[in-house]
């Protein structure tokens, strides 16, 4: 079980209000991801749930029980830190066993659980190493092991992958996803990488300056972003935004089209421009188009390898049903 409800939560550091009043419900078994630009309050929100920060006002409850005043050690949550936060003076085995030892579990039971966790995380050979002797990926797995042995009501992750290199990150992402499928425990995951958010989440919470901009499934956010901020934040490369006459034609202040919803041609199309930098990824090619008269640059995606060169004039056509319209407050029409 692990249903987390935040009601009217606010947080200020001194005079600075980092989280204005906020409500959020994370259902039992859900994989919720907090995304947002740096400094928007993701970690703060997570730490409020964990109990590591004190609420300025409002309440937090876990499984219908108000835990606002309960210290972190009594909330039954497990957390995985960006820095892994392993105990450097303890072996891997002791690290993983630590929360169990603290809950006064029997030694035989502890051994059994540590063994099982180590098995599932491929750490069996390293049980007697100190954290200092492990690679980044292994440390991360130890941190996860320490979290899973105690069978918490929910897992909290604060950018757990950002200290790993790109290849390892993809691997660990899958492992965490696998873990969630296996355990079916609530997970709250903080990241500023929207790819991580899209691939892992059941529910994405987009934050900006402490305010929830939108909550929804990855595809909801992708298809129907509630406002310009979400539209620009979700999706990679970023959505193209066009203002002025072209937007007015659609009855909006701003319109947005994702790069993958624009087709490129050398002969005809609605808009035209000149090819600047092109990024060839093999499966896709991204062109940066200048001199469209609509926006500084527009990014478009083409399938596979398309042979436009720097300086070529090209024509662009947006997919009519994929044009997002926003009013003068930036809200979706």
């Amino acid at each position: 079980m692990g249903r987390i409800v935040l009601e009217n939560v606010t947080k200020s550091f001194g005079d600075v209000e980092v989280i204005p009043p906020l409500d959020l419900t994370i259902e039992d078994g859900e994989f919720a991801v907090f995304v947002g630009p740096s400094g928007c309050g993701k970690s703060t929100l997570l730490r409020l749930i964990a109990g590591l920060e004190e609420l300025t006002s409002g309440s937090v409850s876990i499984d219908e029980e108000d835990v606002t005043l309960v210290p972190p050690s009594k909330r039954g949550l497990a957390m995985v830190f960006q820095s892994y936060a392993l105990y450097p003076h303890m072996s891997v085995r002791k690290n993983i066993a630590f929360p169990l030892r603290m809950s006064k579990m029997e030694q035989s039971e502890i051994d059994q659980r540590v063994e099982a966790a180590a098995q599932s995380l491929n750490l069996i050979d390293y049980l007697d190493h100190k954290p200092g002797q492990l690679s980044g990926g292994q440390r991360q797995r130890v941190a996860i092991g320490r979290a899973i042995v105690r069978e918490p009501a929910a897992f909290l992750f604060d950018e757990p992958l950002s200290n790993l290199d790109a290849a390892l990150r993809v691997g660990m992402r899958l492992e965490i996803g696998e873990l969630h499928n296996r355990l079916k425990t609530t997970m709250v995951y903080v990241t500023h990488d929207q790819v991580e958010a899209m691939t892992m989440a059941d529910k994405i919470v987009v934050l900006q300056a402490g305010v929830i901009e939108q909550v929804g499934s990855p595809l909801e956010l992708y298809r129907t972003p509630r406002n310009i901020f979400v539209a620009g934040f979700i999706g990679s490369p970023k959505m193209n935004f066009i203002e002025g006459d072209e937007a007015a034609k659609h009855g909006a202040k701003t319109i947005g089209v994702r790069p993958e919803h624009i087709s490129v041609s050398d002969s005809q199309g609605e808009w035209s421009g000149v090819v600047g930098v092109s990024e060839h990824l093999g499966s896709d090619t991204f062109f940066h188009i200048h001199e469209t008269g609509l926006a500084e640059t527009m990014t478009v995606r083409a399938d596979g390898e398309v042979g436009f060169k720097h300086g070529d004039r090209v024509f662009l056509t947006p997919r009519a049903d994929a044009i997002h319209k926003f009013d003068d407050k930036g809200l979706r029409i």
Binding site: A50, S73, S83, A85, Y87, H89
Partner: protein, 278 residues
């Protein structure tokens, strides 16, 4: 090129010799003290036995009869150890709270603690005598010496521990909280094992300062709780009669501490400059 190389080589040799000379010069008085302690009282003042004499252990063997050395030494050991333990027991939780739950007042509290250290002891001499003698009745007791030694070293100890604790990542303490430890558990299971080196050298330095303290231990004791500082101070002017035996007690009083001091040179810098010199 060759000339340059040669002149720097000469420079290096000169510097080595000079450095050794300075080192030996500074150590010489201690060496002299130890050397004299192996001479008989009579030999110690004779120029013909300056360096060459028949060494004797007599002075060390008679320390108890001559000066009641072990009684004072026992007092020094007891008061220094208990004061160190007490200071750490009060200082560790304090430094822990300051390092991991700093508030806006933390900096000011630390500075204020230091400022108590700068209060000249002599200014409160009479009130202390008055209070402990007439009012509390603890004058010349181990208890009093332990408390006073603890209090005068507490600011430095808190300060040193604070600088060590600040180097421990906050995440690790928070991970402990998430893993279900209470505050006492955090201190015992995580903080103390992690900062063990720093705590040990702080303790060592605190012990040395307690051992060498020479104002309160002299002024607030007479016989019962008198420490080695008091013993030496009381036998300060032997008029050349007892150089041998006085050297022996003095060497016995400082020897172990000087050796301990060698092990905490680095911490000394941090402890005495309050982290202001890195």
């Amino acid at each position: 090129m060759a000339i340059v190389a040669q002149s720097t080589r000469y420079g290096k040799v000169t510097r080595t010799i000079l450095a050794w000379a300075v080192g030996l010069l500074f150590f010489f008085p201690i060496f002299w003290l130890v050397l004299t302690s192996f001479k008989t009282d009579a030999d110690a003042v004779k120029p013909e036995f300056l360096f060459f004499f028949t060494p004797t252990l007599e002075n060390y063997l008679n320390m108890t009869e001559n000066y009641d050395y072990w009684r004072f030494a026992t007092n020094s050991i007891i008061t220094s150890i208990f004061a160190t333990v007490f200071t750490l027991a009060v200082g560790i939780p304090c430094a822990y709270a300051m390092a991991f739950n700093p508030s806006r007042a933390t900096k000011d509290v630390l500075m204020w603690m230091l400022s108590t250290k700068m209060l000249p002891a002599a200014a409160v001499l009479y009130p202390m005598t008055f209070l402990t003698k007439n009012f509390l009745g603890i004058y010349d007791t181990h208890f009093l010496v332990i408390i006073v030694l603890s209090l005068i070293n507490l600011p430095i100890v808190v300060w040193m521990l604070f600088t060590y604790f600040k180097e421990i990542p906050k995440d690790i303490i928070e991970a402990g909280k998430m893993d279900g430890v209470n505050t006492w558990g955090e201190i015992r299971e995580i903080l103390i094992p992690l900062a063990w080196g720093g705590i040990a050298s702080t303790a060592l330095l605190c012990f040395i300062f307690c051992w060498n303290e020479a104002y309160w231990t002299v002024r607030l004791t007479t016989t019962e709780a008198a420490t080695l500082s008091k013993l030496i101070e009381g036998n300060r002017a032997p008029e050349g009669l007892f150089f041998g035996r006085l050297s022996a007690v003095s060497a016995a009083a400082v020897g172990p501490i000087v050796v301990l001091g060698w092990f905490c040179q680095k911490q000394l810098v941090q402890g005495l400059t309050f982290g202001a010199v890195k």
